[in-house]
């Protein structure tokens, strides 16, 4: 009987490894999902104004951390341009560790899809959001609760497969 113990343990181990092959160890869910977005008070890009987290209220919003020095940000930029043109969701940009003149030049060159842009010059607010790096995006409902977090550039497939259904749900909840 006891000679069967090793083989059964091994079977368990192999099953675990088999499941492990289908998981992605690098994908870490944010603990902020379902919570209110962290409050912030940041300078705006262009003038001396301030942006606070209150601007996130009232309608579903996509918050995007980006920077002019971030190459992958260019990958999702065309999608954002189309989204802002279509008006399907409001996009708020937070420029991450970037000089304002660089951000402005970058937006001028590639187009500005953002309803407004706040500046997080040293990345302090980004830590509150649990940002790893740029680009990173958060989908918020009208009450400012974080519904979904996406690390890395959003592809068209990501948008159709994940963001659009979630946006539809939000629209149903808040008519």
């Amino acid at each position: 009987m006891r000679y069967l113990v090793p083989v059964s343990l091994i079977v368990g181990l192999l099953v675990l490894l088999g499941i492990g092959l289908r998981l992605d160890p690098t994908e870490v869910p944010s603990p902020l999902i379902g919570k209110l977005a962290p409050p912030f008070d940041l300078p705006t890009l262009e003038d001396d104004g301030r942006v606070t987290s209150d601007v996130l209220l009232g309608q579903p919003t996509l918050v995007n951390f980006f920077a002019s020095w971030c190459t992958p940000c260019l990958a999702e930029h065309p999608l954002f341009m189309r989204l802002s043109a279509g008006g399907s969701v409001r996009i708020v940009g937070i420029s991450y560790k970037d000089r304002p003149e660089d951000t402005s030049r970058w937006l001028a060159r590639h187009g500005n899809p953002f309803a407004l842009v706040a500046r997080d010059a040293v990345g302090a607010s980004a830590i509150d959001w649990g940002v790893y790096g740029v680009p990173e995006s958060y989908l918020l409902d009208a009450e400012g609760r974080i519904v979904h977090k996406h690390v890395g550039p959003i592809s068209d497939a990501d948008w159709r497969g994940t963001f659009e259904p979630k946006l539809r749900d939000l629209a149903r909840l808040t008519p």
Binding site: P29, W69, P72, I127, G133
Partner: protein, 160 residues
């Protein structure tokens, strides 16, 4: 161990990309707090890296987090408060020392339960197949094989 090709450029991408950005200056921690500061840094995982603590990593986010830890230590916050600050933002994943919760019971107590079981088994294994109490005290001295053979030859009918 340290054999293998340190990964895939691709997965280091976030670290590398961040290089372009400025990092917060890491404030100095005073002499008395420095051991606590260093020890705490080694317990916290750099979430953008492959498998490094924020003490080891050169990723800008690790630097920012070192700065946060230093600032909070200077503000007199306890290790637990700082850990909580980080888990609220990045999840339990940042803690290299998983907190004792229901889901980590097996992790923390497993080795010691196994050790206890192993020791019990070793004792059981060495006790079984021994003579009943009383007889156990005087096990006969090992018998010389030749002498044994001699005895067996002399009393052939009494082989067990």
């Amino acid at each position: 161990m340290k054999t293998w090709l340190p990964v895939p450029l691709l997965s280091l991408l976030p670290c590398l990309l961040l290089f372009a950005g400025a990092a917060l200056a890491v404030p100095e921690v005073n002499e008395a707090e420095r051991p606590r500061y260093q020890a705490l840094l080694h317990e916290l995982r750099c979430v953008v890296c492959q498998n490094q603590s924020i003490a080891e990593s050169n990723a800008p986010l690790a630097k920012d987090l070192r700065g946060q830890v230093a600032t909070q230590i200077n503000a007199g916050r306890s290790n637990d408060q700082i850990r909580q600050y980080l888990t609220e933002r990045y999840g339990d994943f940042v803690l290299y020392k998983p907190p004792l919760r229901a889901r980590t019971l097996a992790l923390w107590f497993g080795p010691f339960v196994l050790l206890a079981a192993g020791l019990v088994m070793a004792v059981w294994f060495t006790r079984r197949r021994r003579r009943p109490p009383g007889a156990a005290a005087d096990v006969p001295a090992p018998v010389d094989a030749a002498a044994l053979q001699g005895l067996l030859d002399r009393y052939p009918g009494e082989r067990p």
